[in-house]
């Protein structure tokens, strides 16, 4: 049998997922709109004082991005499960972990990247000082792939169930605590003019660990969830 090599398989997987996402551009816009609306509600709820908004801006942007990603996480495998292409992927000769890694990458590009692009706008709405914004973007660039990877493992675990939205939030909460602490810690340190490299390094270390382990765990979880 003529089986394609790893690299062509990876690019094919990535291109397929990105094309599918592009054909449904409206879905990409939903998390972005959600994040903007949530950010907009904070000044209404807390009052328009600049000092208060400035103090909470970093944390609010991070939590809002996290919630927006959680909203989109549910859809990571759902259409593939419905049309059966996920079973084909499990049966494919290429390593499942690698293929799932590509799917996670595609998911990150379509949901997290737009959120990172509008993050400066969200930060500006809450009067975050301009000098802190690069640190915020760096923290988001490291924290969002981490959340995508961890979320993918949990989504794979719930692949065999029907209602999983609330359950997913419950399971993701304990896993995302360290990511939120370090990302928010870096932003807060930068805002106070303190060195912010240490929490960023921890985030990067966690991301490296997750890049190696999460696709493997995701593959194992998917095998558990699909074999009945």
């Amino acid at each position: 049998m003529n089986r394609p090599g790893l690299l062509p398989a990876c690019t094919a997987m990535l291109r397929r997922d990105l094309t599918l996402a592009w054909r449904r551009r409206g879905d990409i816009a939903m998390p972005v709109l959600y994040a903007l609306i949530v950010t907009m509600l904070f000044p209404f709820a807390l009052g328009p004082e600049d000092t208060l908004l400035q103090r909470i801006a970093g944390g609010v942007v991070l939590v809002t991005v996290l919630l927006a990603m959680l909203l989109a996480l549910d859809a990571m495998f759902s259409s593939d499960i419905e049309d059966g292409s996920l079973e084909q992927l499990v049966l494919a000769p290429q390593p499942l972990a690698l293929m799932l890694g590509m799917k996670i990458l595609a998911h990150w590009i379509t949901t997290a990247l737009p959120l990172i692009v509008i993050a400066p706008l969200m930060a500006a709405m809450l009067h975050l000082p301009g000098v802190v914004i690069p640190v915020l973007l760096l923290a988001l660039l490291l924290a969002t792939p981490l959340l995508s990877l961890l979320g993918a493992v949990l989504v794979a675990l719930t692949a065999g169930t029907r209602r999983s939205g609330m359950l997913l939030a419950l399971m993701l909460l304990p896993l995302c605590v360290p990511a939120v602490i370090f990302a928010a810690g870096a932003v807060a340190a930068a805002q106070q003019g303190l060195p912010w490299l240490a929490p960023i390094s921890w985030l990067a270390a966690a991301l490296v660990l997750a890049v190696v382990l999460a696709p493997l765990a995701c593959a194992a979880a998917l095998r558990i969830a699909l074999d009945a």
């Binding site: 169930t161 419950l170 370090f182 966690a206």
Partner: protein, 252 residues
């Protein structure tokens, strides 16, 4: 001759044998738990002297510390059982892991409640975002996630396997969470009891505490055995040994 221990363990893994074994041990474990618990409570609430600084308020540790210890001990048991269930696909290990989760969640909840009852007079607040308190809360959510995932599947064995996988992820996650929240904020005192070396606690207070820790272990064993037996009957319903038990019940 010397391989009777592995043979016995192997037999114990089969549902009917474990059902009988747990049925024999369960009343003993429950009796010991109640007895030791009563002795520990008497020793802790009546015999032990009041603390020179905290007065009588410190006495909540006779509930708080054993529950906190059990919340982690049960998670460890659940993790080991989950690992065995996933690697060797032993049905009994799946049941033990899944039936441990609600008991562990209950102990975690008791720890949080007693801690906040103590915190109100001592720290002046019900809740504070301290490292240990936050890790314990995260532990509660891990337990709830495992329970929730288990019940989300229609097929119970598949649900048990998925939830077992989540429990193992949780075990890797617990030290990371503990470390990160420690780095973030700390107020809770360090540990007072030291197994290897001198404890920073008077013996009058120490013995009821250790007795209570033993009592909670026996309670866990009794409760787990009872739950596992019920679960095994439900899971194996229609098999011969279950039918025989049902017929015996009907006769008597």
């Amino acid at each position: 001759m010397s391989n009777w221990i592995p043979l016995w363990l192997h037999k114990l893994g089969s549902p009917p044998t474990f059902y009988r074994f747990a049925g024999t041990l369960q009343p003993w474990a429950m009796t010991l738990a109640l007895l030791l618990g009563a002795i520990a409570l008497y020793g802790g609430l009546v015999l032990a002297p009041a603390d020179y600084q905290q007065g009588d308020a410190y006495r909540i540790i006779f509930i708080h510390v054993p529950s906190a210890e059990m919340s982690m001990f049960i998670y460890a048991v659940m993790g080991v059982a989950a690992f065995i269930a996933l690697v060797w696909r032993i049905k009994l290990a799946e049941v033990v892991a899944m039936e441990s989760a609600p008991i562990g969640a209950a102990f975690t909840f008791i720890t949080l409640v007693t801690g906040s009852l103590w915190g109100k007079p001592m720290w002046g607040t019900w809740w504070t975002w301290d490292a240990r308190l936050t890790s314990e809360l995260v532990l509660l959510f891990l337990y709830l996630g495992v329970i929730g995932l288990y019940h989300a599947f229609e097929d119970r064995r598949q649900g048990a396997r998925a939830a077992a996988f989540l429990a193992i992820i949780g075990i890797i996650n617990v030290p990371i969470v503990h470390f990160s929240v420690n780095w973030w904020n700390t107020l809770h005192q360090g540990s007072t009891i030291n197994i290897f070396g001198q404890s920073k606690m008077s013996t009058d207070m120490l013995w009821p505490l250790l007795t209570m820790m033993l009592a909670t272990k026996f309670y866990y064993a009794a409760s787990l055995f009872r739950r596992v037996r019920t679960d095994l009957l439900a899971l194996e319903g229609g098999k011969d040994w279950v039918r025989r038990i049902a017929e015996d019940e009907a006769k008597s």
